[in-house]
């Protein structure tokens, strides 16, 4: 019954377009109604503030009886979102989905997830661990990621910048993304990060 899915998406698309909410946006991808791009802006008073995050939304044929498949295409440092793949751990996108939910609700829920993480039900264990044990470092890292990947305003953390440059000197084959990922994973401990790179080589 792709029909219901198509009709629903068309309606929901209009709903989001018409609504005045500035913080969420929805776009169709290549004329395919079942594949969309969503944008959310980072909520205020969070490390993600001012950032613009892209999510890729794939609508299953069985929508709305099954949830849409949503993942972040913008890299993001968050306990419930995989820093590598952008996969989201959110109950309403899994077994708590309800057929009356719409894409608008999904986007707003993602926004809510950014402002209220659930470190006890993590998608990315490393991030969750940092969130729980070194919260201020987590916030700095998340901010750095948001500035680097999601265009959040403000000066970048100079300490982190230096470490990245140093990392790239030592491991010239790695690119900047890898450097950030690697350093973040090791709580910006450059020695451990580099050691890990060579270990895996």
């Amino acid at each position: 019954m792709a029909n219901i899915a198509m009709q629903r998406i068309r309606r929901e698309f209009k709903e989001v377009v018409r609504s005045d909410e500035q913080s969420i946006k929805l776009e169709l991808q290549e004329d395919n109604v079942l594949s969309l791009t969503g944008y959310i802006t980072g909520p205020e008073k969070t490390p993600y503030e001012g950032g613009r995050f892209h999510v890729q939304i794939t609508i299953p044929e069985t929508y709305p009886f099954n949830p849409p498949i949503v993942k972040f295409t913008t890299k993001l440092w968050h306990p419930n979102i995989s820093s590598q793949t952008g996969v989201i751990c959110l109950d309403i996108l899994k077994d708590q989905w309800a057929a009356a939910m719409t894409l608008r609700i999904v986007l707003l829920s993602l926004q809510a997830l950014l402002s209220a993480a659930e470190p006890d039900d993590p998608q990315d264990a490393v991030v969750a661990n940092q969130y729980k044990t070194k919260h201020s470092l987590f916030q700095q890292t998340a901010r750095f990621w948001a500035q680097t990947f999601a265009g959040a305003p403000g000066p970048l953390n100079p300490d982190f910048q230096k470490k990245i440059d140093k990392f790239l000197e030592v491991a010239p084959r790695a690119d900047r993304h890898t450097a950030i990922q690697q350093l973040s994973n090791f709580d910006w401990n450059i020695d451990k990060a580099i050691e890990d790179v060579y270990k895996s080589d």
Binding site: I4, Q7, P64, F65, N66, D95, Q96
Partner: protein
């Protein structure tokens, strides 16, 4: 010429207005007092060519003087009382033979002329004056059917009464000489009218309602068969039947979510189909009761008249009866067993689950029958009555067994 023995018997020719003897007739020409003779003379002589279809009574006289009724003829009708036109069904109750039967029609009224079993004439003979008799005679006359429907009667010689217009049903059905009958008709008419008005209002209220799942306006859906609401027991959110049923059968969502309302997650055990939306209160209660009653008259296909076992046991909405119609003995409440699987996880399973799974494998063609069967058992402890691939509808005809055909 006058013969005392026949003087009290009503003249048959007079009744059909064909008696040529007039005052000289040996039989009574008084409809109020004459006794109706309804015995077939041909049968008395030994043979009546009409047999059982004869309009007169076939009574055999025994040598000992007793009479035995062989076949009852049509009630000997006072011909004026017969409709002069076709004998089609009338909206008014049919007059049956006896001279006046207003009592049949107005039963329950306080009329003093009401009689039981006996003809009106017998019971009040001599007690009423000529004018009363005339009024009563007029009141007993049937209405002309042609005039009743269109207000025009093509038959110039029509001997039936031409009624007055009832403004509710737009028929010329009010008897000019029988107010009692009119009151009765108007009462019925008003009740019917109110019922239709209520239904129309309910449908009008539902006209703009949108299904929370497909977001279509339910009463505008195509095909027409899908224009039905699925009413949840414990909340008042609007869904079309197809969507809510499909939602409740969704498999890779948490079973508690699926059994809950897609909007508010309030769990409901079953869905009631309805042609219009009911918000709650008595209407909803009546709808659900009607639905359950309708289901309970249908044989349960799991129980299969005693040949199978129904996992819903005594909680099943469908009829559990043996082939001879006797209700099956109470099977007790549905049972689930609990066990721990190899990983130590707590599991619920029905005793018949393994059997059912085998059944699925053996008879794949019947998978739609078991569609939500293995599903319900592989999950939760709560017993559910979503027996939803089979569908009985109280508001529609029982025509929608294909409703849940796989998409």
């Amino acid at each position: 010429m006058a013969d005392a023995s026949t003087r009290s018997i009503l003249c048959r020719y007079f009744l059909s207005n064909t008696c040529r003897d007039g005052d000289q007739c040996r039989f009574s020409h008084d409809r109020t007092t004459g006794i109706v003779d309804n015995v077939c003379r041909y049968f008395q002589k030994g043979s009546c060519r009409y047999g059982a279809r004869c309009r007169y009574d076939h009574i055999r006289k025994h040598s000992n003087g007793n009479k035995e009724l062989i076949s009852k003829g049509r009630q000997f009708k006072n011909d004026v009382n017969q409709n002069p036109h076709s004998a089609g069904p009338m909206d008014l109750p049919q007059y049956s033979g006896k001279f006046l039967t207003t009592s049949d029609v107005s039963s329950g009224s306080t009329s003093s002329v009401r009689t039981e079993g006996k003809s009106f004439v017998d019971s009040v003979r001599g007690a009423i004056s000529k004018e009363d008799a005339e009024t009563a005679r007029l009141a007993g006359l049937p209405l002309c059917e042609y005039h009743m429907i269109s207000g025009v009667c093509p038959d110039k010689r029509c001997r039936a009464v031409h009624g007055d217009l009832c403004e509710i049903c737009s028929k010329y059905i009010l008897h000019p000489h029988n107010p009692e009958l009119n009151t009765q008709h108007q009462k019925n008419c008003r009740e019917t009218h109110e019922k239709y008005a209520e239904l129309a209002a309910a449908i009008a209220r539902s006209a703009k309602l949108q299904c929370g799942v497909c977001m279509d306006i339910v009463l505008d859906k195509e095909p027409e068969l899908s224009r039905r609401f699925g009413i949840l027991e414990n909340c008042s959110h609007v869904f079309c039947l197809t969507c809510i049923r499909r939602w409740r059968q969704v498999k890779n969502v948490d079973v508690k979510s699926a059994r809950g309302c897609p909007e508010c997650r309030t769990p409901s055990d079953f869905v009631t189909p309805s042609a219009y939306f009911v918000e709650g209160g008595d209407d909803k209660l009546a709808l659900i009761t009607g639905y359950k009653n309708a289901l309970s008259s249908k044989d349960c296909k799991y129980f299969n008249r005693g040949k199978g076992t129904c996992p819903f046991a005594n909680k099943c909405f469908y009829k559990h009866a043996l082939p001879d119609g006797t209700p099956a003995p109470d099977a007790g409440p549905p049972t689930t067993r609990r066990r721990y699987d190899a990983n130590g996880h707590f599991q619920e399973f029905a005793p018949d689950m393994l059997v059912m799974q085998m059944y699925d494998v053996m008879m794949p063609s019947r998978d739609e029958m078991d569609s939500d069967f293995s599903f319900e058992y592989s999950f939760d402890n709560s017993f559910d009555f979503d027996y939803e691939d089979d569908d009985v509808d109280v508001t529609d005809d029982y025509d929608d067994d294909d409703d849940m055909s796989p998409d």
